[in-house]
């Protein structure tokens, strides 16, 4: 709100517009370095590209793979990112997500839920008390057990 009020008051606003439109405006400054590249009225394409390539070679910041040769550094960066992120994470993640159900684990869980719902609808307990036929179970006799602790 305060900003809007100040802009309406006007002098700063007008000055900024004139500056942005007037490419021939000369800003008085004591430092010479920036003025050579910025204050040229119509820079040619060739000088821009040569200046920018020279600037990038001088101020090359390594990606951390090779500090002597930029090409090796860039290649190493591209290859590590490709193998780790593109292949392992992106493609690997895709394969992992859409891989068929190993050992039918998901299928078994779905079937279990369906069975539980079916039994609940019929009013049965979740699992039958005599799931295994009691006559088939062979328990050791009391003499065989003796003093063994029975932990349930």
């Amino acid at each position: 709100m305060a900003g809007v009020v100040r802009m309406v008051q006007g002098s700063v606003f007008r000055r900024s517009i004139t500056l942005s439109y007037g490419k021939n405006v000369r800003i008085i400054s004591t430092s010479k370095k920036n003025r050579e590249t910025v204050s040229v009225a119509e820079p040619t394409d060739k000088s821009e590209t040569t200046e920018s390539t020279i600037v990038s070679k001088k101020n090359w910041v390594s990606y951390g793979y090779d500090f002597k040769r930029q090409e090796d550094d860039t290649n190493a960066m591209h290859s590590t990112f490709f193998f780790s992120i593109t292949l392992c994470i992106v493609f690997g993640g895709f394969v992992f997500t859409y891989y068929p159900d190993v050992l039918l684990r998901d299928w078994a869980q779905r079937e279990a839920y369906l069975e539980l719902r079916r039994r609940e609808a019929q009013g049965l307990p979740p699992i039958d008390r005599n799931l295994i036929d009691p006559q088939k179970i062979v328990l050791p006799s009391d003499e065989e057990l003796a003093d063994t602790d029975i932990i349930i």
């Binding site: 990606y63 500090f67 960066m77 990112f81």
Partner: protein
């Protein structure tokens, strides 16, 4: 590991031999985790000591690495010879060594149980036989530390899980011993962490504490215990390895692992602070990390085994969070060490390295059913 050890290639310090050692170690580890036979597992279990020793002795930073190498070799070999005796005993009684067909070998001696279990407990490491770990981690080069923390410790856990299957009879009577040592030891080690000034040593001791909980989980012989220990082993491997990377990144800049020098890093390398925070929060099992999943499952398994473990587990968790927050705050916040002349920015290579450690750590918790119930 190769990403982390860029300085070896820069200084051309036997870089080809280094590469060979790392690859050799990777192949041996791959074979050990893929072995179906108890004897071949033993072979690769012992075999990975040689390249590890070469890595520590050849590319470590300080003269203390000689002692560290001796500790590593003597501790592990001393404990592994009984394991060979146990393996031969299993073969004599059962006539086979394939993991899938092993059952109770009908050897009713407690000596056999100790033979089989002790090697893995020293490797994993259990509290009282953990002395080799801080030494080896501190003296090892970054690749050595990463692979030690990430994979080699997990060999012990993997071996324990494999072997527990047919040592169940002894386990019911004797495992309380290892559980109580691990819990109490983990608590004490976390107190020790609060006192550490060497960053690498701190991460090494925190490894011991985490792995103590893993050992407890395996020793309860619950399904939940096995699943939780499996998850926490994966999570700890990623987290500790990532923390070692971060410590090394700072070490390469300041030349010191001391906490008193490496402080106020948020002022110097703010981009790295977020990785410190994320990995530290994973280390103390803050959600949504895989460590949290592992610890919750393990706590459930331990408390179902005995409610008395709650006392130690509460202390463990509290002091774990305490030292983690203290270290994060001390290393990142506040003013930086005035003796630092210059500090280079956080390179893309390092960013990728730490990102690859953190990404599965915070993502795999979404695949809980796949990760934890793989067994």
């Amino acid at each position: 590991m190769l990403l982390a050890r860029e300085s070896v290639f820069r200084s051309s310090y036997f870089s080809e031999f280094f590469l060979f050692m790392v690859l050799f170690l990777m192949i041996i580890l791959f074979c050990s985790f893929g072995s179906v036979d108890l004897f071949s597992f033993y072979l690769f279990f012992e075999g990975r000591l040689v390249p590890t020793l070469f890595l520590i002795l050849g590319w470590g930073y300080q003269p203390e690495r000689l002692q560290a190498g001796i500790y590593l070799i003597l501790y592990t070999l001393f404990a592994s010879l009984p394991l060979l005796v146990g393996v031969i005993g299993v073969y004599n009684s059962s006539g086979l060594l394939c993991f899938f067909f092993l059952s109770d070998p009908c050897l009713s001696r407690v000596f056999f149980y100790f033979c089989m279990v002790f090697a893995f407990l020293v490797r994993i490491p259990l509290f009282l036989v953990h002395l080799w770990l801080p030494k080896a981690h501190v003296e090892a080069p970054i690749s050595g530390s990463m692979i030690l923390a990430g994979v080699l410790l997990k060999l012990g856990g993997y071996g324990l899980i494999r072997v527990m299957v047919f040592l169940v009879n002894f386990s019911f009577n004797l495992n309380f011993f290892w559980i109580s040592i691990s819990l109490l030891g983990g608590f004490l080690v976390r107190l020790v962490c609060l006192r550490q000034t060497d960053l690498k040593s701190l991460v090494a001791y925190s490894s011991v504490a985490h792995i103590g909980i893993v050992v407890c989980g395996i020793m309860t012989v619950n399904y939940w215990g096995f699943c939780g220990s499996y998850v926490l082993m994966i999570a700890h491997g990623l987290c500790s390895s990532g923390l070692f990377c971060l410590v090394n990144i700072v070490y390469e800049r300041t030349g010191s692992r001391s906490l008193l020098v490496n402080r106020g890093l948020m002022c110097l390398i703010p981009r790295m602070s977020i990785w410190w925070f994320l990995l530290r929060s994973c280390n103390m099992a803050a959600p949504p990390s895989l460590n949290l999943l592992g610890e919750v499952v393990l706590f459930r398994s331990l408390v179902s085994w005995s409610w008395l473990t709650i006392l130690m587990l509460g202390g463990l968790s509290f002091f774990g969070a305490a030292y983690t927050l203290y270290i994060y705050s001390y290393s990142q916040h506040g003013s930086f060490y005035s003796g630092i002349y210059s500090c280079s920015i956080f390179y893309v290579r390092e960013f990728l390295l730490v990102f690859l450690h953190w990404f599965p750590l915070n993502l795999l918790i979404l695949f809980r059913d796949v990760v934890s119930f793989w067994l």
